[in-house]
Amino acid sequence: MISLASDRTSGSPPIGTVRVAVIVFPGTNCELDAAYALELAGAKPDLIWHRQAQLDDFDSVVLPGGFAHGDYLRTGAIARFSPIMGPVGEMAAAGKPVLGICNGFQILCEAGLLPGAFIANSGLSFICRFVEVEVASTSSALTHGTTAGQVIRLPLNSYQGNYVDPTLTGRVVLRYMDNPNGAQGGAAAVANEAGNVVGVMPHPERAIEANLGSEDGMILLRSFLGAGPIETGRTPVGAQPESTRSGG
């Protein structure tokens, strides 16, 4: 892992020029919201249909929320075979920032770009309300612009939000204050080892203006846009203690 906090000052491009691919699968429904929020954050988002097979001109990619393929079989199960997922995997491997929100998070897990899987909320009902999450690790594309322990208010909106990770390799970067869905280790957001691939269950793109109930999502989106590519292999400043791992 590496600390993106240091990268922000170094090589990463100014947000205004960041080209973000927002992937649209059949059944995706948060793509317009994600694009709206990213634009508000200063980036240049483009909606990309899942049949497209290259992402050459993009700096980073967002898999927005929704119900790709109706969540049939398993959430994210069918979407991971879409042609676009090849290039998404390549960007992940190249250290470029990759963010999955809600259903996008589930797709990243099914695709093996993040460890773990999702099952039904422990309460067995859909949950749509604001929740508070705490920054458990700042070394990820989503959280490097935050401070450890910082509390952030975001809307949760899912039925299969209950994260399980038998491998105990997922790094929790955001943790629920009151674990509303039973997620392992209270995981609200999980990153890969390098920190460039992040999945977040609550919706930062829904918390971008005061009159919508919170602006905290902007902190995370700006952080993500400011991340820039990550040269892997360096060791993190302030690497995460074991306890922040999802199994901890």
């Binding site: 199960a77 422990s122 038998p166």
Partner: protein
């Protein structure tokens, strides 16, 4: 040809539905219920006639799509 796939969630992975149903059953007076686990079964109707190759193909389908190796095992039976 009909092939039956049962997708079984690994015992160590939680099953909220099972937990909830046990509680509900006990409230209804079925106190003898100790545990309940929910699985998914998929009945596939396939063209072709060779049970052996059919089973092999369906196992392939399970590995690639139908089951999630992170939390699930699967069991395939040719039923007719």
């Amino acid at each position: 040809m009909k092939v039956r796939v049962e997708i079984v969630r690994r015992p160590e992975i939680a099953d909220p539905q099972g937990v909830t149903v046990v509680r509900a059953l006990r409230e209804l007076g079925f106190g003898e219920v100790a545990e309940a686990r929910f699985n998914r079964t998929i009945v596939l109707d396939l063209d072709g006639t060779d049970p052996l190759s059919a089973r092999a193909r369906v196992e392939e389908m399970c590995r690639r799509l139908l089951a999630n190796p992170v939390i699930e095992d699967f069991d395939v039976q040719v039923i007719e």
